[in-house]
Symmetry: none
Subunit: 191 residues, 4 copies
Amino acid sequence: MAKATDSKEKTLAAAALLFRRQGFHGTALHDVLAAAGSPRGSLYFHFPGGKEQIGEAALDLAGEAVRSRIEQAAEASPNAETFLTGIARAMAADLEQSDFCNGCPIATTALETAAQSDVLRAAARRAFQSWEQEVARGLTRFGAKPDDAAISATTILSQIEGALLLARTYRSVEPLRRAEAAIKLLAGIMR
Amino acid sequence: MAKATDSKEKTLAAAALLFRRQGFHGTALHDVLAAAGSPRGSLYFHFPGGKEQIGEAALDLAGEAVRSRIEQAAEASPNAETFLTGIARAMAADLEQSDFCNGCPIATTALETAAQSDVLRAAARRAFQSWEQEVARGLTRFGAKPDDAAISATTILSQIEGALLLARTYRSVEPLRRAEAAIKLLAGIMR
Amino acid sequence: MAKATDSKEKTLAAAALLFRRQGFHGTALHDVLAAAGSPRGSLYFHFPGGKEQIGEAALDLAGEAVRSRIEQAAEASPNAETFLTGIARAMAADLEQSDFCNGCPIATTALETAAQSDVLRAAARRAFQSWEQEVARGLTRFGAKPDDAAISATTILSQIEGALLLARTYRSVEPLRRAEAAIKLLAGIMR
Amino acid sequence: MAKATDSKEKTLAAAALLFRRQGFHGTALHDVLAAAGSPRGSLYFHFPGGKEQIGEAALDLAGEAVRSRIEQAAEASPNAETFLTGIARAMAADLEQSDFCNGCPIATTALETAAQSDVLRAAARRAFQSWEQEVARGLTRFGAKPDDAAISATTILSQIEGALLLARTYRSVEPLRRAEAAIKLLAGIMR
DNA sequence: ACCCGCGGGACGGCCCGTTATT
DNA sequence: AATAACGGGCCGTCCCGCGGGT
């Protein structure tokens, strides 16, 4: 029973990693299984919905991981500036340490399936919205008005997502560095 | 001869459209051919490099289309604000009119292939850099210092790309509307 | 389980037959599957190495079949003459009964792939060497010295292979008939 | 015109070489054209019959080349022994110098197409028969009776063909060396 | 009752031998 | 006599159920 759970979670973790790096359609289930060391037959026991369900679960998993990191960053930061800077730098570090492979764990799958699968688009939306909400919550925690915070959160997330895209494409963290300054502006810190 | 050029360009246009909507790996060459009304055998004649070469050409085509639109927007605008607003609104219009299918024509393929294909990543980089450069040029045209303009251009592009991603995922133009205001901030117009 | 073994062996038998008649490159996997009544998908399960692995297995199968026939001929024969004559006549019968389609099951694939695939060349070599060895063993059984037997075995095999080639090309068993007499000479029986 | 003939002959020479090494079905027309440096469109001008006609012409070309070499060997030899030894050694040299790539220029294509193409089988038959005839003629030249010479010629050719097959498969000239001795036996020299 | 080895159709992209057009 | 195009089909393999093991 513990073993079974293990197998399922390992499969999910492998799927999340591969979807993040190669996208949804670029990742074969075969590779996921191989990376997880899981047997093939049991896959449809754990995920009757097939690849789409695996994608959904992987998106949920990755979304929650990032959300909780944002939450912790908010709690651990003395002010809005270090809060936001922390988020941006954590992502830049992830990207650089993985040789520019680990970008946003949601964005690739989100773009690939936005027009094709409602369940995957919904999962991506849940992830992004939870991040927006967490950023907004952090901002209000440091004194922003709720309405301003929500708007800023959207633009901050957009800035980070866009910068991650450019950074992966350029194989350079420069866009993220520039985004760091931009974020402060968007949060209303520098004015 | 005129026919030949037509067939190749039609194939490319169809490829660019489908890659934009469904991504690179989510698009079968068969669908591209069907959409273009082209026969299968000619494909290998026009694109000996296979799907990767088609992707590269489609990226170049789409990249140039957007670049020239930015250039024209700069020339047609009286000031930086209408220049930048024009770009953002044009993209929002594209997205909304296509029922949130036509997002950034580069981003999806760029993310999918960043870690897999150097030629596609290079093509995506060319496109993004040409856009950055064109935005920066527009900004200097309206009085910005070259160094500031370059930095602003990166953050403006990031902002638009991120907003496009969220807008597709949310099926809402709200992120783009918020990005519009953010862009002015990033360009140093509102201060 | 019994079913599984059946499917794989039927595929292999069909492959061996078609490779024998049409050669390796002249045989489409599609035809093998159709002849065996197997679906396409299972093939990759049984033969992850693809066509090359199928070729190797088919060569091994056919090689062993002939080797054991030689062995049995040796055991069933009272002297070297009937032993060798039996081998040659069996091959001539195979060829004639199949309307000159069933020649050597190894030779065609061996020649096609000698310069291209080490694994197929190795499989062909295994087959030929096992035949040589079996012929030599038969010869020693009937009184030949081991060293002489090995040399004779090579020339006998060459003689049969060459005659098979000419017989298929001429659509006539005459070369095999002449080979029959030649073999006795090469074995040192007629002197 | 001289150029045209050149192009045609170069194409044919390249085809003969590639068919010899890789077989008929293993050789793409594309590779033949590339190896010959010929343009692609003119191929069906020179060879309206397509690949089959190219194969036939290549077989004829290679067949005549070997036949004339046998003829010259007969004329240049003082006796049957050096005549036959010369043929076997020339083939062994060809094979070894080409790293065991250049075997019999007819055999591979003959085996591949024996059951499929009457025109290619006929071309192969013409080649082999011309060789048999030339060997027989050489043998009679050195004193053999015509009937004996014809029979010996068949077995000698078989022996050489089989030895070439084994030699390519083993990547060793040993079968050819053993064939050399066998041939003398078959010619009735050693008795 | 949970799990998985084994098998099954369906395309995926590549490329092959060939023909209109000029 | 050579460019430009054309369908067809091959091999790989992808995503997925069916029946036996444990």
